[in-house]
């Protein structure tokens, strides 16, 4: 029980990274390796805000905004000139991943920093005679709320419909008179914001250290591929699968936790090469 709770909270953090990662790839064919940096910077900037103000809500909002701004800048300054050039994009985003990590070391040093849990989110809830750590429940609820909110935006609003259409055929979206670049920027900003949100709410659970971004990148990539590149709900389902497998695998056979995830990935790809919810012929 505690393992599945642990796995689900990990899953929500993976989901918050993977969602934007997947949409950005689906829409712009950009494999943004620097996406994990938004998670990293969400954790650090959230910690900085929390230590100065003591207000956790403010830290969560502030870190998310930091992520959105970073995302918009990265898209506008470094990726926009490179659309269509996949090799340079990968090199660019890999470079950015390293730069953002070095910047963290420069500003905050290399030691692991603790992120104290806010008062009301400490302790455990007793439900039906079992103990549930409040903070893990908080992460799970936050992840589900974000999932539902973004799901509704994607399915009910015109902006959401535009994003889904863009994943299928961005050229035709433009041929309907829509400026796809604005859509790109919006999705990039939103995706980065979600990753940073994951960083700040994950920090009290994972700790805050410079390699955090890179460590989250690999499972997030696996999640995105299992769920299907470009599929939002796929990233949620993929995250739950990987979160649980990570948690159970890590508990029973820690040496094989990554191997189990890679095996899961291989099985999914054998059965359905586009991932569980991927659509054919996107890019």
């Amino acid at each position: 029980m505690s393992l599945s709770l642990n796995g689900l909270s990990l899953a929500m953090l993976y989901f918050l990274i993977a969602a934007g990662f997947s949409l950005i790839f689906g829409l712009m064919s950009v494999l943004n390796l620097a996406h994990a940096s938004f998670f990293l910077w969400g954790a650090y900037s959230g910690l900085a805000i929390f230590t100065t103000t003591g207000n956790f809500t403010l830290a969560v909002i502030g870190a998310t905004i930091v992520g959105v701004i970073m995302g918009l800048l990265v898209e506008y300054l470094t990726l926009r000139p490179l659309y269509g050039n996949h090799l340079f994009q990968i090199l660019m985003t890999l470079g950015l991943l390293l730069v953002f990590e070095e910047l963290v070391k420069l500003i905050w040093g290399t030691t692991i920093l603790g992120f104290p849990r806010p008062e009301i989110l400490t302790g455990s809830l007793v439900i039906l005679g079992r103990y549930f750590p409040v903070y893990r429940l908080f992460i799970i609820i936050a992840g589900i709320v974000v999932f539902i909110a973004v799901y509704l935006i994607l399915n009910r609003t015109k902006i959401g419909i535009t994003v889904r259409a863009g994943v299928e055929d961005e050229g035709m979206v433009q041929a309907l008179g829509i400026d796809i670049r604005k859509v790109f920027s919006g999705v990039f900003g939103l995706g980065a914001g979600l990753a940073a949100l994951g960083g700040v709410i994950g920090a009290p659970f994972l700790g805050v250290y410079p390699e955090l971004g890179f460590e989250m990148l690999v499972p997030a990539l696996i999640v995105v591929i299992i769920g299907g590149l470009g599929s939002f709900h796929g990233s949620f389902v993929g995250a739950v699968i990987i979160g649980l497998s990570q948690s159970f695998g890590g508990y029973f056979i820690p040496e094989f936790a990554l191997a189990i995830n890679v095996a899961l990935l291989a099985i999914v790809l054998l059965i359905k090469p586009t991932g569980l919810f991927g659509i054919e012929g996107g890019h």
Partner: protein
Amino acid sequence: MKNLLELENVHTYIGQYHILQGISMEVPEGAVTVILGRNGAGKTTTLETILGIKPPSKGTVRFKGEDIHKLSLHNIVKKGIGYVPEDKRLFGTLTVEENLRLAERNKQDFHRERRELIWDLFPDLKRAWKRPASTLSGGQQQMLSIARAMINDNSIMLIDEPSMGLAPKLVQEVMSAVEQMKGLTTVLMVEQNLKVAESVADRCYILDNGMIVYSGDIKELVKDEELQNNYLGVTV
């Protein structure tokens, strides 16, 4: 009659290939103009050049008296152009309703009226309103592609081979939709089938190897078998 759209000595390259080699064309307002020509003649490229999907390297494209060939695709479309591409290019995971909603760029009231018109014209679409476009039949997809261009108050519709791959009964249905558009907007349509073209067109152009080899009244072309043999494929 005033010309709504004019092409003047337009050249377009795809990569290193010189596809359109100096095309001039006039599309009069309120009429149906048809482009005919063999496979690979450059018909689709002509429409894509007008839209800015394949911008011309030389020459001018004038729409409502304004040069548009330097604008980008979405800005050109917003001037009032509806596009029905050759391969339909619907969004398969979006429902019929979402496909239309995505295309809407005018005032809400206008779209409400147009939806009614579309429902009258294509009752199938009304029945499939909440279904993903990928589940529609080929004919229904063509209807939706046309409806998507009709949902806006466009001044011109660029329609690329709407009859392609459709059964005769469906071709008729699609052509009666084009007939309906006549009263609402100007039409520039690519059509390989001369019989189909004749049923709706006022004027026509024949393209061959990226050049215009005939322009005039479609009635004259129907009578001129030599011209047909020279420039139109076996589809006639």
